[in-house]
């Protein structure tokens, strides 16, 4: 499947089916992140049930603390 993640076209393996899978694939699943799919923010409890489709536009912003 091909997704547009943070503006870049990225091909992910077939096992990536949901937002949860995507975060795990990028090893962001233990980080605090905000995920937007096609301009809609996905709530954390929806990560496992939100399916991704070819061509979806995904924005991932993860929080950091330093300053």
């Amino acid at each position: 499947m091909t997704l547009v993640i943070n503006g870049e076209t990225v091909t992910v393996p077939d096992e990536v089916k949901t937002v949860s899978d995507l975060l795990a694939y990028f090893r962001l699943d233990n980080k605090l992140a905000i995920v937007e799919v096609n301009v809609r923010i996905i709530q954390k409890h929806e990560y496992g049930t939100t399916a991704l489709c070819d061509g979806d536009r995904v924005e991932i912003v993860h929080f950091v603390g330093g300053g």
Binding site: N6, G7, L32, I41, E59, V61, V64, G65, G67
Partner: protein, 341 residues
């Protein structure tokens, strides 16, 4: 109006009117590290009316690579950052009133400033989420905009939160990130700092000139080494039940239980201890007391630093202390009580 702000006034969205507004504004800056010094210099050069700087730390050599207001002399003297920043900023622009507060930006301190001084803007330049959730509560309780900023490595993130206009940090995060997630030891490069400062300052200028429609309305992040950029609109995440900005706010981070007396400092191998009652030390006397016990102690007008083998104890006038060389709160407390009673 003198020539000093002419280029800023020529910028049409600010103009002469905007400059007058900027001049009448009071900004509170929480933290005077990398983001804090960058924001402070920009605000003072832009000609705000008053800047309050709150910081609990002092200048060290490892700060000089990116904390732009500090000099080698400040590190040698271990000057509190708020004091060193004020000194430098007064050289940059003598027209700006600068208030330096050496201390913790806890709920009591921030609420007092918000209630008594009614500042126009709070800028987050802290290094931890405990502080940010306190800022978030104070901002929404007193209807003051605040601007989140953070950076680590080559990555940075920023967002402006405006009571009455945007959801708050709690709506976005739902939980307070715990230590391991955010305490970074990944280093930091100065362009990441400057980029976050730029995002924060751009939103700050819009807020100060009251150009609300120009606000970004997005949580923005970037990585200057991997050349990535992402932005997410935040207006959709507002929650009616939010304890900070919902219909029945309780401001949980301002409650007594949240007033932590100890804090492990991010990536610093240090613990901060605040005594339950404020103390008032004569620092020279205290240093002398340590020396009589055969310890190596140095004092400046703001703090005493004592070497204890692989640990170091730094005591401020009001009894607040930093124990360096440990992340163990119990061990730090033991050291504190052994030497300060």
């Amino acid at each position: 109006m003198n020539e000093r702000y002419s280029r800023q006034q020529l910028f049409a969205p600010i103009g002469e009117e905007g400059q007058k507004k900027i001049r009448g504004k009071h900004v509170v800056l929480i933290g005077a590290g990398a983001l804090g010094t960058g924001n402070a210099e920009a605000l003072v050069r832009a000609g705000i009316g008053k800047l309050t700087i709150i910081d609990r730390d002092y200048v060290e050599w490892s700060n000089l690579q990116r904390q732009q207001l500090y000099s080698e002399a400040d590190a040698k003297e271990r000057l509190p950052k708020a004091i060193a920043a004020k000194r430098r900023l007064e050289q940059v622009n003598g027209e700006v009133e600068i208030e330096a507060i050496v201390g913790d930006a806890g709920p009591e301190e921030l609420e007092t400033i918000a209630a008594m001084q009614r500042p126009d803007l709070l800028i987050d330049a802290t290094d931890n989420f405990d502080a940010r959730f306190i800022i978030n509560d104070v901002a929404y309780k007193y209807h003051i905009p605040w601007i989140y900023g953070a950076c680590v490595g080559s990555y940075g993130i920023s967002c402006a939160f405006i009571p009455g206009r945007t959801p708050c940090l709690y709506c976005l995060l739902e939980t307070v990130p715990q230590g391991g997630l955010t305490c970074d030891t990944a280093g930091i490069i100065s362009p990441a700092v400057q980029m976050v400062v730029s995002y924060q300052m751009a939103e700050a200028l819009k807020i100060l000139v009251e150009d609300w429609s120009a606000l970004r309305g997005k949580l923005v992040s970037f990585d200057l080494w991997t050349n990535e950029y992402a932005a997410v609109r935040i207006d959709g995440v507002k929650k009616d039940g939010c304890p900070t900005c919902g219909r029945h706010p309780s401001y949980p981070f301002l409650s007594y239980e949240q007033r932590t007396k100890t804090a492990v400092l991010c990536g610093r191998d240090s613990v901060q201890i605040r005594p339950s009652a404020r103390r008032q030390y004569d620092l020279n006397e205290l240093a002398e007391l340590f020396r009589r016990q055969g310890l190596q102690a140095e004092a400046n007008p703001y703090l005493v630093s004592v070497s204890l083998g692989d640990k170091r104890l730094v005591v401020f006038r009001d009894g607040r202390a930093l124990v360096h060389g440990t992340k163990d709160v119990q061990e730090a407390k033991a050291i504190y009580y052994r030497y300060l009673g």
